[in-house]
């Protein structure tokens, strides 16, 4: 290996690492606020990429029906809940309306826009609008009523959600894989390195999102409320912060980040309905590196995973997944040696 190959691999690794970083941040965010180890994070990536791909072909993406189905289920649970607590019809109606408004609106726009071949950016925005509401709907349907269960029960629930989402993904998107067009076809050359426009976009989008997240958590009241919930749920609740509201928000952000990651990674690789799992798990390895707690460490871990993957595929391409996922063991060993006293949860 000479320097030029090494730099190409490094660039490649850092590009993927930037996307893993986003997923790792989402994983840490969701865990900190809700104690849910959110295995299905990667599913949002696949949903985002596939939705855009189907818009590109001029079809109404399956996401629309999927979203409407979930929203209907959530609305149904609103009705049942309202009826069981004997709430006035007006309040139940409002609640149902709030549940349905965004999904129905986004779906309607999507159905209208699909055959019209809108510009790529508009389709990308529409994709985000379609995938983001999945977060809070999934939280409501699967996790909310179990909010006080142990981390391990929530983890098994996550696995169940992952199973269901992958199966439903196959149903709504089909088994076909798609590769999206680049957002920006420009190419920049610097010696042996070629920087594609998409790479530049990935770096900038990741950086922008990280900065936005930082500002959100440091400067806004909502962000601070989420942090408070992460530190102490009961305490935050006593201060008037709704922990289920915080959970919905965290999941919505996770879905948004997932969808964005899907848009970013879509042009670099072919995405199938089940591709999200492995991509999400790589973000996960990075999150574990951060002890599921530290955002900056998650970023470092993600870039590390990206580099490991690109160099791993150069040396032993068949074993690149083996190398990436084996790396979690030394990480865990290091964590258990440096922080052995976290036995009781």
């Amino acid at each position: 290996m000479d320097l030029s190959i090494a730099s190409i691999l490094a660039l490649d690794g850092l590009t993927n690492g930037a996307v893993y970083a986003l997923l790792a941040l989402a994983t840490v965010l969701v865990f900190a606020v809700t104690r849910v180890i959110f295995i299905p994070q990667g599913e949002f990536v696949a949903f985002g990429a596939l939705t855009l791909a189907l818009f590109q072909t001029g079809q109404v993406p399956g996401t629309v029906w999927f979203l409407l189905a979930l929203a209907a289920a959530a609305a149904l649970s609103d009705l049942v809940n309202g009826w069981r607590h004997r709430l006035p019809a007006r309040r139940i109606g409002l609640q149902v309306l709030r549940t349905l408004a965004w999904p129905v609106l986004a779906s309607a726009v999507a159905i209208w826009a699909a055959p019209r071949g809108l510009p790529l950016v508009a389709q990308a925005l529409l994709t985000m609008a379609l995938v983001t509401p999945f977060g809070s709907l999934i939280y409501r349907l699967a996790y909310e009523s179990l909010a006080d269960a142990s981390v391990l029960v929530l983890l098994i629930v996550s696995v169940g959600v992952h199973f269901a989402l992958v199966g439903l993904g196959l149903f709504f998107f089909g088994a076909e894989g798609f590769r999206n067009p680049s957002f920006w076809d420009e190419r920049f050359s610097a010696g042996a390195l070629t920087l594609s426009g998409q790479t530049v976009i990935i770096f900038f989008a990741s950086l922008a999102l990280i900065v936005l997240l930082y500002l959100f958590f440091e400067r806004t009241l909502t962000g601070k409320a989420l942090r408070a919930t992460a530190v102490n749920r009961a305490g935050a609740r006593l201060m008037g912060i709704s922990s289920s509201g915080a959970g919905r928000l965290a999941f919505t952000m996770a879905a948004l980040i997932g969808a964005l990651s899907g848009l970013l990674i879509g042009p670099t690789t072919t995405i199938f309905y089940d591709s999200g799992f492995l991509i999400g798990l790589k973000g996960f390895v990075a999150a574990v590196f951060a002890g599921l707690a530290s955002y900056p460490m998650a970023l470092v871990g993600a870039l590390g995973v990206g580099l490991l993957e690109s160099f791993g595929s150069f040396w032993a391409s068949a074993f690149k997944e083996v190398i990436v996922f084996s790396s979690i063991l030394p990480v865990l060993l290091w964590r258990s040696l440096t922080d052995p006293h976290s036995e009781d949860q």
Binding site: I37, V151, G160, V161, V166, F171
Partner: protein
């Protein structure tokens, strides 16, 4: 002590006895049915299904022990199955070696892998093991699929059938007998293990490490033990799987399958041995139906059954977290443990210290949580035969002091000496081993075990039987001695008549007394009681005071934290008063009562 009415007396006695008798017969009858099934005119299809169920149940059984009993989770059991299967295939096909050697080697590799994974993750909080097993499942899958010598994704074909004493078992009826013999044997061994000294230790894991460690149990070792046990069961299932399918390829051992095994355990009943069998049967049979039905319904082919599994998993955890088997168990009467220990020899007791000998010296202990000093250079001493009270307003640092002495919390500064030997910094199970036992402010017990079994947990350090002896039921003599001791301690605090009740059904007062009996069962020289009288009624308090006085008369030393002044004043020789983490004063009950300082601490001062 008054007996609380419980819900046992509904079924008339003879009917109950008959049903208990039926229950005892259930296992032999079930075992017989499964073993003679191949000889009956059952269609081959059902024999095959039954083979699958036996194989899956073996893996799910390991998960019941791991997840349901010990509270740990593994998503990587399919990978352990793969280890067993690939070892069998590689040895018998490529190396033309003996299948029995393959069994030994496969189990050996699984044990080593489990030890490595466990050693790395089990010292940390509970969610690191599942994360590591996800990685392990993926790594093994991709390794199996890319190794030239394992046939890559095609796998290894043409595995020979299994022969025992020249008898070819084939892949159907013959193998059915072996699969089910092994599965039933494993279930029997696991049920035995759960009802034993190491089994009680394993059952204590789910409630957190503090109580188990205080009883002298190494929680890490027992977590590792169950994890290895689950891996071994999975590897054996894999070994059988290779001879059943006669080909191995990576796909039956992927992460998804690992999750499916967990699903079987959760669905069937995660804390019951038979839940594993029920879960395996339900999942296998419905999976087949769904694989035919769903694609027809939807119109395209694909693994749509995962949708149903995923949703059912979430629903089960929400509405029936104990799984399906509980619906069966609920209908069965619970048989009391037969009292067969009257003739057993008592357990050896430790030599008690001489009255007046210095026992515990607390020297300037300090505990700092960040900027907060919870305990600030507190010193006091306990001599053998003393009853010392530790009192103070809420938040004075009494329980923290307790936790510093018993090793639950690490000292920030200072030293604790036990009969001259420094014990500060030792883990609490080492401190327990030296003869200091304790109860907890918030009762820590295993709600689904009987009172007797909970108390027997205290005798952990006085027994020696390991898990293998327990599985083979070679530990019965020692068990009898442990139960005899547990009953003796229960009788001592007046609760012998309630020993067969489930601990979780007791009211708070009796639960506290049970904790005292458990602490006594460790044969301590010093007993630390954290608010023993809280939640007791007046009569019960008097009875407790009598018990404590009697213990003192027998040479026991006591340190008690208590809020009930009447109780403390009437019982103790000396009292240490704490306020805001510091020691306010020490003296006889009369001196403490007369002290204006103490009065000010409790009632405030006039300004």
């Amino acid at each position: 002590m008054s007996r609380v009415l419980t819900d046992v007396a509904e079924v008339p006695a003879p009917a109950k006895r008959r049903r208990i008798g039926l229950r005892r017969l259930a296992f032999p009858l079930f075992a017989l049915a499964m073993l003679v099934l191949p000889a009956l005119p059952v269609p081959d299809f059902w024999i095959t299904q039954s083979n699958y169920i036996g194989l899956y149940a073996l893996v799910a059984l390991g998960l019941v022990m791991l997840t349901g009993v010990a509270g740990l989770i593994s998503f990587g059991q399919a990978a352990f199955v793969g280890v067993g299967a690939y070892t069998a295939a590689f040895l018998t096909v490529t190396l033309a070696s003996s299948p029995w050697l393959a069994l030994l080697l496969g189990v050996g590799i699984a044990v080593v892998a489990a030890l490595v994974l466990g050693a790395i993750t089990l010292r940390m909080s509970g969610h690191y093991l599942p994360l590591a097993t996800i990685a392990w499942g993926l790594v093994l899958y991709y390794s199996m699929g890319n190794m030239e010598f394992l046939g890559k994704y095609d796998g290894i074909l043409g595995v020979p059938t299994l022969k025992i004493f020249g008898l070819d078992l084939g892949t159907g009826r013959g193998l059915h007998v072996l699969i089910w013999a092994i599965a039933l044997l494993a279930a029997w061994a696991c049920a035995n293990l759960l009802d034993s000294r190491p089994g009680r230790a394993i059952r204590a894991l789910k409630g957190g490490a503090t109580m188990a460690e205080a009883m002298g149990i190494s929680t890490f070792r027992h977590k590792l033990l169950v994890f290895v046990l689950a891996a071994v069961l999975a590897a054996i299932s894999g070994w059988l799987f290779a001879f059943f399918q006669r080909t191995v390829s990576p796909s039956p051992f992927n992460l998804g399958k690992g999750i499916e095994y967990l699903f079987m355990a959760v669905l069937g009943g995660v804390s019951h041995v038979w839940g594993a069998f029920l879960g395996a049967a339900v999942v296998k049979l419905t999976e087949d139906q769904l694989q035919v039905l769903l694609p027809k319904l939807i119109g395209t082919s694909g693994n749509f059954e995962t949708i149903v599994f995923g949703i059912v998993l979430v629903v089960v955890l929400k509405y029936a977290p104990e799984g399906l088997w509980t619906f069966v168990v609920r209908r069965l009467p619970r048989a009391d443990r037969p009292r067969d220990w009257d003739a057993s020899t008592p357990l050896p007791a430790r030599a008690k210290p001489q009255r007046g000998e210095p026992l515990l010296q607390v020297e300037g202990v300090r505990k700092q949580f960040g900027g907060l000093i919870a305990v600030n250079d507190v010193s006091f001493e306990i001599r053998a035969g003393d009853i010392v009270g530790l009192i103070g307003p809420n938040g004075a640092g009494k329980s923290t002091t307790f936790n510093l002495i018993t090793g639950v919390l690490a000292l920030s500064a200072g030293q604790v000496r036990w009969r001259g030997e420094p014990i500060g910094g030792l883990p609490s199970r080492q401190i327990a081993r030296r003869g200091i036992s304790r109860t907890f402010q918030h009762v820590k017990m295993i709600a689904e075990m009987t009172v007797l079994e909970n108390v027997a947990l205290g005798g952990y350090l006085r027994g020696t039987s390991g898990s293998v002896r327990a599985m083979l039921r070679l530990d019965r003599e020692e068990e009898r001695r442990l139960f005899a001791e547990a009953e003796r301690q229960l009788a001592r605090i007046g609760m012998a008549d309630r020993m067969h009740e489930l601990a979780g059904n007791l009211a708070l007062g009796p639960q506290r007394l049970m904790e005292i009996a458990r602490a006594l069962c460790t044969d301590p020289a010093l007993l630390l009681l954290d608010e023993p009288a809280a939640g007791l009624r007046h009569k019960e308090k008097q009875a407790l005071a009598d018990v404590l006085r009697q213990l003192k008369g027998e040479g026991m030393s006591l340190l008690l934290v208590e809020h009930d002044m009447e109780f403390v004043m009437g019982l103790t020789d000396r009292i240490v008063v704490m306020e805001f983490g510091t020691k306010l004063m020490e003296g006889t009950p009369a001196e403490v009562q007369a002290s204006p300082q103490v009065r000010a601490a409790y009632l405030g001062t006039e300004h």
